[in-house]
Symmetry: C2
Subunit: 161 residues, 2 copies
Amino acid sequence: MDQRTARFTDRMGSLLEAEGFPPIAGRLFGLLLLRDDACSLDELAAALCVSKASVSTNARLLAAHAAIERTGRPGDRRDYYRVTPDLFTRMMAQRLARWQSFAEAVHEGRRSLAIGSPDVAARLADYEDAYAYMTAEIGKALRRWRAPRKNACHPTRRSRR
Amino acid sequence: MDQRTARFTDRMGSLLEAEGFPPIAGRLFGLLLLRDDACSLDELAAALCVSKASVSTNARLLAAHAAIERTGRPGDRRDYYRVTPDLFTRMMAQRLARWQSFAEAVHEGRRSLAIGSPDVAARLADYEDAYAYMTAEIGKALRRWRAPRKNACHPTRRSRR
DNA sequence: CTCAACGTTCACCTCGTACTGAACGTATTC
DNA sequence: GAATACGTTCAGTACGAGGTGAACGTTGAG
């Protein structure tokens, strides 16, 4: 892996790490962003200079979060990984889900807690409303974004290798 | 602190922790969400059963992220903290900034890397576009949200205590 | 000036997390 | 069946982050 690529994967690693992923998961993701065809575990381990065990663990972690996906090849027993085609949509969905958790926590608090102050009650109500509004708006924006460019993002294409 | 309140602050703690904050910062935030007037460090430390040092550190961390803010009281040398009035807007702004970092990383990669595959080039371009589009849309939605309810969220009010 | 009440900083410790190499289970190929 | 090539799991380890208590600097009151 050349130096510029390493810079890119490292940077992606930091960003994903800030989102709560292990460092290697981030670098793995960054690397796959630059590969046009799916990669095997050994290939990834070699490129990132980490153990195959780490790649296995982190790849399954990323797959669980739908950031990458596992594929196979006919006549090949190995696992291959690539970024998911509708990556952006999935990441957004994940973000919305997190916000949903926030809104639920606030809602639950409003319901179960005896809130004395009307100010606090208003603040929580507003907070919850804001999340509801924003998730709805983002959902709409997301549909508008996808609509005109269905499948235009990552044309499925036979591998070149 | 009663049990239901503890449940709420703990839950907020977990959620904030998932966003990259220390556990205590999250609980601190959750607690302040429920207080209608600003709290002193000792008050917070007592309520959360943690050291004053931790409260000090985490309060300044949250303040640096504009989730809470520090206030004073005339004739009182102590520091008081409360949630920021325009909390939701600020949190959104922070999220947009993170996405901006992502978009920049991708942009930088597109610029500096020699990308062989047209598929990869298209993917990165689309990825970057998607972030730009979404941040713009969220910005618009945010302005629409704030517009009709300026200052309606947290009416400034003399403290009751 | 002295003393007390603050907030902050620092060294220490603890605990969880991430990574590794080796062992393991499994499936495919001679 | 034996051997090989996979992916996964597991014990061990190193490292970093978070929290604490004590020391520190500062400010204000008596």
